[in-house]
């Protein structure tokens, strides 16, 4: 049986008709056609499907769509695009931290949640935050460098 619900994604209300056993990830990708959020394991292990729910990073493959009703969802499409990239995205580009790109949207979401809550993390804290986002291309070296650079730029900006 399908239910008519509304999802708030990237600030817009989307009316959708879904069966209750579907995941937020599948509805985002298949119904809203927001395919920037990737499917890597469907088991909450790889972090490729990370989105923000009320500002917190979640594996959207582990969230039933009904549990996302009434929550603020942000996907990679809501972070930056043609109108301009988010500083985290710019830093990933600049540091050469993007390879195959499949984990990248999830990395951006996790890093954004981290810096939104804690603008000045240590390298260790960045690694802890990213520990749920698997990457097989980069060894995380340039990803961590990029996030560290953004946090340093942000804190300099605040001081300046």
């Amino acid at each position: 049986m399908k239910r008519a619900i509304e999802l708030k994604v990237n600030g817009e209300m989307y009316p959708v008709s879904v069966s209750a056993d579907r995941t937020l990830l599948d509805v985002i990708r298949e119904d809203l056609l927001l395919t920037g959020t990737k499917k890597g394991c469907e088991a909450g292990e790889c972090g490729a499907c990370t989105v923000l729910m009320d500002g917190k990073p979640v594996n959207s493959c582990m969230v039933l769509v009904m549990d996302a009703v009434g929550r603020e969802i942000v996907t990679i499409e809501g972070v930056g695009g043609l109108e301009g990239l988010h500083p985290i995205q710019e830093a990933l580009v600049e540091h050469g931290a993007v390879q195959c790109g499949y984990c990248t949207p999830g990395i951006v979401m996790t890093a954004k949640a981290l810096l939104d809550n804690q603008p000045n993390p240590t390298e260790r804290e960045i690694r802890e935050a990213l520990a749920g986002n698997l990457c097989r291309c980069t060894g995380y070296v340039k990803i961590v460098e990029a996030v560290l650079a953004v946090s340093q730029a942000l804190s300099q900006g605040r001081r300046g």
Binding site: R29, L33, L34, T35, G36, T37, K38, K39, G40, C41, E42, A43, E45, C46, A48, T75, I76, E77, V79, G80, G81, L85, Q89, L92, V93, E94, H95, G96, A97, V98, Q99, C100, G101, Y102, C103, T104, P105, V108, I126, R127, E128, L130, A131, G132, N133, L134, C135, R136, C137, T138, G139, Y140, V141, K142, I143, V144
Partner: protein, 770 residues
């Protein structure tokens, strides 16, 4: 020589679309009336299908096609992405679906339905009765005389490759010491973050079929898929969108023929996406190898004889294995100079999932064994591990036995020197000896530290074993910017970026003004082998550079007419053509190109090339690891890895570093945590998921220091050689050698698990007490 764009850390051509989530991968696509495909897989490792009934599944509303062995063309094929070449031994032993399961996960039937749920429901309605056969889960079991045959070859041995140089018996007789050791390396998976096996197939009204697929090899996959379907090559069109990592897993056909057959049978587009579990269960892994090494040495560290007998567990289908035996022999043969060498490689079928390509292609296996043993030899002879390697590795100007071609350049000695400095080799090794002699350890309490190193050589393409054809077209548009049409098989490594830099450098245009075809399309780009053997920068780069040079020649000829000077007096840089001796005489590329398009004889300036590169210059690396071994828990922590790589000219240092850093994550996994395991009696996979198959997270990664040694190759585009695969080849050996340095134990089987460390420590302690 200084270059303008080559050598720069320009941003990747595809970074902005990927970082914003706008890059559209195959699995993100959808077509009108698209169906979802699913595969029914064997629950048994070895079993005959006695009866199969699909009637119920076919009658389920929403099911548009059900196929079994009965429906597939009875044409044997081989999934490995090889061009017909001297080194390609392609045993064709696969059908698109089988009536005899040879591993848990073998494809028995497939369905296409309106949605995923219906497709899954239909799979559950297919009735299959199996006659279960004994599962042969390792090479010993498979080669036993009483073992059932997986295919129709005696003792399940698909091939034996013997190589003899000189006389090893004489060499062993001349040796002061002879070392004999047995090593084993397990089955490991590439685990790209996009699961392996994503294809969308759509038949058209003209008897052709288009397949969008996450592949490394658009043109070769086109040919194999067409063959498996009984079609002519040109009836298949392969389009390769962005690929979410590959590392060898997509080096050939994965699931394209199943998707295509479902599309043909249903008459509709079909998307076939493997889950994470399926990409473990049913796609090709790295080969497990058993290697028996026998090495004779003189007291001064000279090798008198080197021998390897290796058993290659190829799994259920031949795919790469008999050909793969060639490079396995080549890596061993070419690492150290010796007048007498003997190799026996046996390729064996087992009931595990078939093995194929994984970054390094046999080299990480061989280097683990060889470099572990060479470390023991150095210790026994009282030589510094650096010295024995510096003494015996092949150098520039010598023949490299992998290819039998002369080595163009060698940056290994510099790499060893700089790498040793960076890890603190001298003081850390000396300190250990100074403190209490050979058996001493450093570190505090139960945690002992050590440093180790290993060296490797690798290829830039696979010549002369395999063809390395590439094709490139450069066309200069009327605004002076250029398109580079290339079968771009970039899977994230950055080759598309590097090739754009090569084209821009040669053309004298700005990097931002050259646009490579980001998506490969076999209907558009010329024949290209694809991404394998670290070939893109060298093979692709040479073709791209020549196509750009051909376009530039025409551009300068036209500019010479306009400026009324000889073309040989002209140069082009940053989009401007200048007279070399009179820089004020200048015309923009845009103006020249506009005149070409719309002047007297309208034409576009185009350069086109299809060719093989002139050689295969080897690359070198020395990797160093510092580890801390917890003698109470057996846990090894890698504290730092230093990777000194001779890559030739680094076209984009950030891309090159990224390749090495990422490979090291895979190399540490190979050393410490990764092993795909089966229940030994039944062949049931035990860890087809990320919970139980452990790859390193951001928290697990140590500090990585990359050192680039740029010993450029004359035949390389702007001196480039290669980098893609080499980053992980020496890592596991360097870590194993560091563990030996730390606690004096030699573990000859990967991964170096805590259980093995504790067992080895106990054994060492017991033998010390005797």
């Amino acid at each position: 020589m200084a270059y303008t764009i080559v050598g720069q850390r320009v941003p990747r051509v595809d970074a902005r679309e990927k970082v914003s989530g706008r890059a559209v991968y195959t699995g993100d696509m959808t077509l009108p009336h698209m169906l979802v495909g699913k595969v029914l897989r064997s629950p048994y490792a070895h079993a005959r299908v006695v009866r199969i009934d699909t009637a119920k599944a076919r009658s389920l509303p929403g099911v548009k096609a059900v196929i079994t062995f009965e429906d597939v063309p009875k044409i044997f094929w081989n999934s490995a992405g090889f061009p017909p070449s001297p080194g390609a031994i392609l045993m064709e032993d696969q059908y698109i679906l089988t009536d005899k399961a040879r591993y848990v996960g073998d494809g028995i039937a497939a369905v296409a339905a309106v949605d995923e749920k219906t497709a899954e429901q239909a799979l559950g309605m297919i009735e299959v009765e199996y006659e279960v056969l004994p599962a042969l889960m390792n090479v010993e079991a498979a080669m036993a005389d009483e073992a059932p045959l997986i295919h129709d070859v005696p003792n399940n041995i698909m091939a034996h490759m013997p190589i003899v140089i000189g006389d090893v018996d004489q060499g062993f007789a001349e040796a002061d010491m002879v070392f004999e050791d047995k090593y084993y390396v397990p089955k490991v998976y590439q685990v790209s973050m996009e699961p392996c096996g994503v294809a969308m197939a759509a038949p058209d009204m003209d008897g052709r079929i288009t397949i969008w697929t996450s592949t490394q090899m658009p043109h070769l996959v086109r040919g194999i898929t067409a063959h498996a379907l009984g079609l002519s090559t040109s009836q298949v069109r392969i389009i390769k969108p962005p690929v979410g990592g590959a590392f060898g897993s997509r080096l050939g056909v994965v699931n394209e023929p199943i998707a295509a057959l479902l599309a043909i049978k249903s008459g509709k587009p079909v998307m076939l996406k493997y889950s994470r579990e399926e990409s473990f269960l049913a796609t090709e892994s790295r080969h497990p190898l058993t290697m028996i090494l026998k090495t004779g040495v003189k007291k001064d560290g000279t090798f008198t004889a080197r021998q390897m007998t290796a058993y290659l567990d190829g799994g259920a289908y031949a795919t790469h294995t008999p050909s793969f035996a060639g490079p396995v022999a080549g890596w061993f043969l070419a690492m150290y100079k010796s007048p007498n060498i003997k190799i026996d490689n046996y390729s064996v079928y087992t009931n595990s999932t078939q093995c194929g390509a994984f970054r390094g292609y046999g080299n990480p296996q061989v280097v683990f064994a060889v470099e572990s043993q060479v470390d023991d030899i150095a210790a026994a002879l009282g030589l510094d591990p650096l010295t024995i390697r510096l003494k015996n590795h092949p150098c520039a100007g010598e023949v490299w036995m992998w290819s039998n071609w002369v080595i163009e350049s060698c940056g290994l000695d510099e790499g060893i020197k700089r790498g040793a400095e960076a890890i603190g080799w001298g003081e850390k090794r000396k300190k250990r000896f100074a403190e209490a002699g050979e058996n001493a350890v450093t570190g505090t309490g139960t945690k002992k530290r050590g440093v180790g190193m290993a060296y490797m050589m690798h290829v830039s393409g696979a010549r002369p074993m395999l063809h390395e054809t590439s094709a490139a077209v450069v066309k200069i548009n009327e605004d002076g910017k250029a398109n580079l049409i290339y079968s771009n098989s970039d899977c994230g490594q950055g080759s598309g970026t590097a090739l754009t830099q090569v084209a821009a450098e040669e053309l004298g245009l700005n990097y931002e003004d050259v646009f490579i075809t980001k998506t490969a399309d076999t209907d558009v780009a010329g024949f290209d082998i694809g991404s394998h053997a670290s070939r893109q920068a060298y093979s692709g780069g040479n073709a791209v550079k020549k196509a750009a040079a051909a376009a530039k020649e025409k551009l300068l000829a036209m500019a010479a007419e306009i400026l009324e000077v000889p073309a040989s007096d002209l140069e082009v840089a940053q989009g401007m053509v200048r007279v070399r001796t009179a820089p004020e005489q200048v015309i923009s590329v845009a103006e020249v190109s506009h005149k070409a398009h719309f002047g007297t004889h309208g034409h576009q300036i185009i350069g086109a090339v299809s060719e093989e590169p002139p050689g295969n210059p080897p690359v070198y690396a020395a990797q160093f690891a510092e580890v801390e071994v917890d003698t109470e828990t057996g846990v090894i922590e890698v504290l730092k890895v230093v990777a000194a790589h001779d890559v030739g000219t680094a076209i984009n240092p950030a891309v090159v570093e990224g390749q090495i850093e990422g490979a090291i994550q895979q190399g540490i996994g190979y050393a410490l945590t990764e092993e795909y395991r089966y229940q030994p009696e039944t062949g049931q996979p035990l860890n087809p998921n990320f919970t139980d198959y452990k790859i390193l997270t951001a928290l697990d990664m140590p500090e990585v220091e990359t050192i680039l040694v740029e010993a450029s190759a004359e035949t390389g585009p702007f001196g480039a050689k290669s980098v893609g695969e080499s980053g992980l080849v020496a890592t596991a050996a360097a870590i194993a050698n560091a563990v030996y340095d730390a606690v004096g134990i030699r573990i000859k089987e990967l991964p170096l698990s805590p259980e093995k460390v504790l067992a080895a420590l106990r054994e060492k302690e017991n033998s010390g007490n005797e």
